[in-house]
Symmetry: C2
Subunit: 212 residues, 2 copies
């Protein structure tokens, strides 16, 4: 059974959203995005594991605690696992069952989804003993190089939904446009709304209007 492994760091996440969300709100919002991803990996029949720096409890997933850096924690997990592993980021709440199933049913050794700007948003590893991750920087190219050196075949999966990670205020627009999940409801409940002004789509906050 495929392990869907979601790395997660609960404290002070998504600092680039500080312009619109407080630290407490960012921590809650990150958990809502995580929940959306867990719902999706569960619907795609994966055994979902939160690989976390501390012990947390989220419905639909088990938690494995590794108080390590992202690469160290994931590579330790890969070395300890025999089943195929889908590493999927917690900040891609637009992920759908269809897009995840497309990845895990790949005919290749590795299926990878680039994020915008050369990151890696999800990577399926058929044999975790043969692969290691190298996140940060141009990780998409780094991962292609690792596959090449290890003689692993690669499927680059073309999905807008999986490629869309939520880092900055303008990314929130994509949640309003394309999601009906928990992260959208959270934003709506605290007064964040989508707006169309002068022909451009943006988000604004109802309760506390920001100074421009």
């Amino acid at each position: 059974m495929v392990h869907a492994v979601i790395p997660f760091r609960p404290t002070n996440p998504k600092t680039r959203l500080s312009c619109i969300l407080s630290q407490e709100e960012r921590e809650k919002f990150a958990l809502k995005m995580l929940s959306d991803v867990i719902t999706t990996t569960g619907s795609a029949c994966c055994r979902t594991v939160i690989l976390c720096t501390e012990d947390i409890s989220v419905e639909g997933a088990e938690t494995v605690v590794k108080p390590l850096g992202l690469n160290e924690a994931l590579n330790e997990y890969l070395a300890e696992t025999d089943d195929p592993v889908l590493i999927i980021m917690s900040d891609i709440p637009l992920a759908t069952k269809e897009s995840v199933v497309d990845m895990v049913k790949t005919g290749s050794d590795i299926a990878i989804v680039p994020g915008r700007g050369g990151g890696t948003n999800a990577i399926f590893v058929r044999d975790p003993k043969k692969f290691h991750v190298d996140f940060y920087g141009a990780s998409f190219l780094d991962h292609l190089n690792i596959c090449h050196d290890a003689g692993l075949s690669v499927d680059i999966v073309d999905s807008f939904r999986l490629s869309t990670d939520i880092d900055e205020k303008e990314d929130l627009v994509e949640i309003f446009l394309h999601s009906k999940g928990e992260s959208r409801h959270f934003l709506e409940n605290i007064g964040v709304k989508m707006s169309v002004e002068k022909g451009r789509v943006g988000v604004h906050r109802h309760a506390h209007e920001e100074t421009p």
Copy 2:
């Protein structure tokens, strides 16, 4: 036979790239991106039409001149056409044969690809007499509403490559990461290169270093 219709305005395009490209370079670059899209629609067996504000000649496509605004030109074209029409923007050079074929083989009346931020990057219209476009602003939502009001079924196509339009300097990174087409070669030839600095991927220009 599906008409692939690519709206194009050759004069002073892509002004948001002015920070890295001169007007003359932007005009050439826009033509290179157009050529990449034409190559793709041709490989997907479409009859490719450049819907242009003035008469231009580009290999692989015929040109229809309509000196009108984007919506007016497209809606006039749709009203005059009986075959299915794929409207596809000229600034999505990552488009692949597979992603275009996915659109034109949809089982729905309409297949639509959102751009980032609520735009529309491509839209397939099975019966052009039943649909009209409304670009600018949140056109993705506007197009969904037009379909709803006309009773047309809609397939929202999930493709990173089609969703990636090239508007700003940081978008150029995606061309270096994911394309081997003419637009990439053009950038390389004028000294624009991808760089990885402090773990982030960007582009810089070799010949004329920009001031930060």
